[in-house]
Every structure is written in C-alpha cells, then in structure tokens.
Amino acid sequence: MTKEQIPLKENDVNNERGSMDKVEPVFSTGVGISEATIKEISKAKNEPEWMLDLRLKAYRKYLTMPMLDFGPDLSALNLDKIKYFQRATDHIARKWSDVPDTIKQTFERIGVPKAERQYLAGSSAQYESEAVYSNLKHDLESRGIIFMDTDSALRLHPDLVKEYFGKLISYSDNKFAALNTAVWSGGTFLYVPKGVHADVPIQSYFRINAGRTGQFERTLIIVDEGGSVNYVEGCTAPNYSEDSLHAAVVEVFVKKDAYCRYTTIQNWSTNVYSLETKRASAGENATMEWVDGNLGAKITMKYPSVYLVGRGATGTMLSIAAAGAGMHQDTGAKMIHMAPDTHSQIVSKSICHDGGRADYRGLIKYTKDAHHAHSHVECDTILMDKKSGSDTFPVNDIETSDGTIEHEARVSKVSEEQLYYLESRGLSESAATQLIIMGFLEPFTKQLPMEYAVELNRLIKFQMQGSIG
C-alpha cells in the first residue's frame, strides 16, 4: 500500500487527535438541562409536535431513573455541567467547498475528503451536533437509498422516522437512553429499500470539538427486505481538560433476508465518557454484524445487542478494546435469540497496558421459542503488565433445552517464544511486540476498509508507545 492511502498525515502523530479548533457555535443552549432547554432544542430544529412530546416524556423519565449500578464508576460525571446542544453551522453543506474553513481543515487533517474520494460511496461528517457535510453518490441515491443526518430525515421523511424511532430502544431502557431521547441531535439516518445492495461502505465521521459538549447523536438504520449495507463510522476527539459525555443511541432494523454490517472505531480522548446504547433486530434469515473498536475514552460502557426475532437470523459481534492509563473499557454484546435456528457469535479481543482495564460483559439469551439456537463466545485478552487488568462477566439465560453455547476465555501475555523468534530476525523488542499485537488484532482489522485498518494500527501503536519501548 502506498503512503497516499493513509488518511492521517505523519506530522499528526505527535498530536494524535488534533487540537481544539476555534469554531464559535452559531447557537447554543448553554450549560445544563431543563424542560425549557428541550423546548428550545426542538424549536430551533422546527420539529413536529410528536418529537417534542417524546423528548419531554423521556426527560421526565430520565429524572426518575437511577444511575447505572454496574461496571465502571461514574461518580465523577457531572451531568449538570454539560452543554446539551450546540450547532456549529447554520446550514448543512452539500459540497465540500461550502464547509467552513476551520472545520474543513480539521476534516482534511483526519482525512475525510481524501478517504471519501478514494473509497467511499457516501460520507457524512458530524461536527458538534449536526452534520455539516453530507453527500451521497448519485448511483446510491437513484436506487432509493436515503442517507442523511437524522434531523434532516425528520424533516424530509417524517413518516419513516416516526415508524422506527425509539421502537427498538425505548427511552425507558436506561438513564442514558432517556437522556439521549430528550436531547438528541444529529446522528445518521440510513434507509436501504427492498432488494437494494449498497456494495460500497457508507461512512460517517463524528467529532466533538468544544469542551464539555454532550454529544447525543441518534442513529437509525433500516435495511428493508433482501437489502444489504455496510455502514462505517469513525470518531476522533481532540484532547480537553474538561470531561465530555457521549451518549449515543443507535437502532438498526434488519428485515427478512437483509444484511447489515455496522462498523465503529471509537477513539475519544481520554476524558470522554462514552455511554452508548446500540441495538439491532434481525428478521427471518437476516444477518446483523457489529464490528466495534474501542480505543479511546475515559470510560466506555457499550454492549451492542442483536434481537434475533426471525427464524434463521444471525447476529455477530467482533470487537476490540485497548485500554491504557486511566482508561476503563467495559464492553461486550448481547444476543437475544427469540426464534428457532438462530445463530450468534461474539469475538471480543482486548489489550490492557499501563494500568488500563478492559472488561467483557455479555448476555446470551434463548427464549422458549429459540429452538436449536447456537451461540459461540470467545474472549481473548493480552495483559501487557501487572498493573493492568481484565475480567469477563458472561451471563447465559436459557429457556430452551435444545440449544448449544460455547464459551472460551483466555488471558495471556505477549509470548516470550514469539518475541525471541521475531527478535532473532533483527526486530527490536518493541517492534516485535508491536507486530505480535497487530497480529492479535488482525481478525478484527482484516474486516475493516483499508484506510480504517491502517488508521487503527497507527492509533494502537500511538496509544501503546509507552508500554512497548
């Protein structure tokens, strides 16, 4: 592969996630949240009545719901200090040249336009709370694929949004789903009509810029019967001294015989709380694949799920987590088998270094209708030092007697024997370690589009610089 294909420039290595840009928000609701804030957000967006009602119901529920009572310690997260809504530009640019210069420079630096030109069918970049740049190649558009930010979709395709919004993840699901429903802004809306195959990856970049900004994007993907799509989302956040919150909600509907792959690389700076709710449903003979990379954030809590509701449906999760100093990755997956002959697979790989912690938390559920269900779970962890830690919390909830579950969990160090072999060819200890780690992650990286794979390897090398020489 040539240098030109690497989206990030070499000189960014010392300033990995970029610096804070000077972009004054056009509109902001200030610090904190109240019913008035929510009404302001809804009014600013010119939303239909039902959405405002839903937001307010969710907000009232949010106030009554307890903080999450498992996993990482969230006591340092002050929800009253968050800016709940900011708009970076007052219009959505259609062409790259319409995007404001500072924002353009940021994206230029993280490589969006180049990546788009070279690989992508469509790309939508979220800066602050709304998409400032979105573009869909004509062939996809002409085949009826809808790809836009969720705010625009609510304006342009209100019935479609209303039909699916909140139908998989109710605002009462958990405190952060309630909060998201109350203050959501931006996110991706993607609709693939019956029988349509989007053969090239569709991708979207997200980026938080101003400090203490909550990002509550709301993503809705519908793949209609027999359709297929490969959706890729990446995010980087600049480093800040103040803590930010990222609480997305993602709902994916994969209808009969349809296929969806949803790929995310999360690389928030290490003061971001990333508390996401992601759920998919898979109909008869449908396939839903989550490909999920977690490299950043102070605390990540994310357990994407697949509800296997149709006979023969398949759900998979392939994830990696890298946890360095001060980081806690609490991630996993949930596979809820609700129909016969459903299959699921979870492969979770993690690397902990410099005192970082990565835990796996998962659920396999077979309801009484899930006859002959099959599930395979594999957790594989490398601990780079004694300060770092990892645990697995797998839960099986089985109501049938004819299903099968396999579970494997492994915690290891980098093998001395392998290091010696690589060193005997001239590689330094750190280069050899790096190569072994990249090999460990390869089952994940090989599933990524090329520029993401390159990017991921580079980010991991950067993150692990201290611990491997």
Partner: protein, 250 residues
Amino acid sequence: MADLEIKNLKVAVEDKTILNGVNLHIKDGEVHALMGPNGTGKSTLSETIMGNPRYTITDGQILLNGKDITKMSVDQRARAGVFLAMQYPREVAGVSNANFIHSAMNARSNGKPVPVLKFLQDLQHNMKFLDIPDEYADRGLNEDFSGGEKKRNEILQMMMLKPSMAILDEIDSGLDIDALKVVAKGINAMRSDKFSCLMVTHYQRLLNYVVPDFVHVMVDGKIVKDGGPELAKELEKTGYEGFEKEAEKG
C-alpha cells in the same frame, strides 16, 4: 563477511550443564557441518549463539569478527549478521509472512526502508526459487504450516535477510527428498565468500547436496572429532556409537 569463533563455551539450562567447553572456528565463506546424536547439545549451541535467553553461558566466549557478542541482545546479534534457522520455528498468528519479512528487512537496513515494490519482487523471486506457493506470502507467519513448509520458510527468510553467518538447526529434518533438494538449492545459492554457515544435522543426507568444507562431531556437549566431508560419510557407515563410547571413556 563473518568469522565466528567459539572458545571453551560452557552452557547451562535450568542449572543443568549442557555444553562442556565447545571450541569451533568458522571463517569467512566456510560451510561447516555439526553432527551428533540427539540430545547432545547441538541446538543448545545454536540457540546460545543466537542469544536465546533460556540458555546461560557459564564460561567461554563467542567472538563474531573478533568481537565478543555474548552481552549483545538477540536483535543486535541478528543485525550484526547472525541468523538462526530454528529447529522448531514459532508461529505468529495474524502477522503475514510478507509483512514480517519486510519489517525484519527494514529493521536491518539502517533506517532506510526497503522499497515495497523491490521487496515484493525479491520475495516473489525467492519464493518461486524455493517452490513456495504465492499465497504463503499473505498467510500468518508459519501459521498452520507443515513441518516441511516451516523449514522452507526459514530458508526463504535467510535468502531475503542475507545474513553473513547462518546457523541452520536440523533444516533437513522432516523433509522428503524433493523438499530437501529445494532447501539445499537455497543454501547453495547463498554460498559465497561473504557467507559463512553452520549446518546442524543428525543425518548425512543433506551433506550430499550441500557439501561442507568441515565436519564436526558433537557428543555430550563437546566436539569430539573434526574432519572434512569424508567424516560425514564415515559416520553414515559406523553411526555415532563409537564416538559415544569414546566420550564415556574420556
């Protein structure tokens, strides 16, 4: 160019003495064969020259071009020109063979990266030469390779990395006759006045295809006899028994 001199080398593994004072001198461009029964210390010697941390030197010296390398790290020795084709090459999942060899070449090229195109051309050429199918470039390093494929892959690495001092530990074991010929072809292709080689083997068979300049016999952690290629032929007829008896007496 490489001149390797081993002086009175004593080596222990987990407090058990394996090598009892080995002396060996391999000069520029020479090919030596080290033979001996199983468990006698041939791999111990090979691994100790490479710097495998499991082996502890209790006495003696290893001089490469006159300089003691016993304090050097494994990768420093490699970059100084030492190469060990291991008796049991390790597998590294997910690291492609090509990526690995390219990384190793870059590590040895004094900060000047080896151009990808040139690398791929050389790799393809050498793989063809060794009858290694193209797809092995993209497979995980030695991952699910058969014993023979691993050996061939060691020779491929040697041809790509161009060491000045190669130690080939039982490179012939587990090979059928065709594979043996291929491996021998690889070694012979390397032979020049800039390439020194120590071939460790249990059998005489390989030496029919790569004719050594010198042959040494090791028994119980000591070299008990030195000679020319004819010594290997003699061993084929008599076996190691005579030497073992001698060693017991001595």
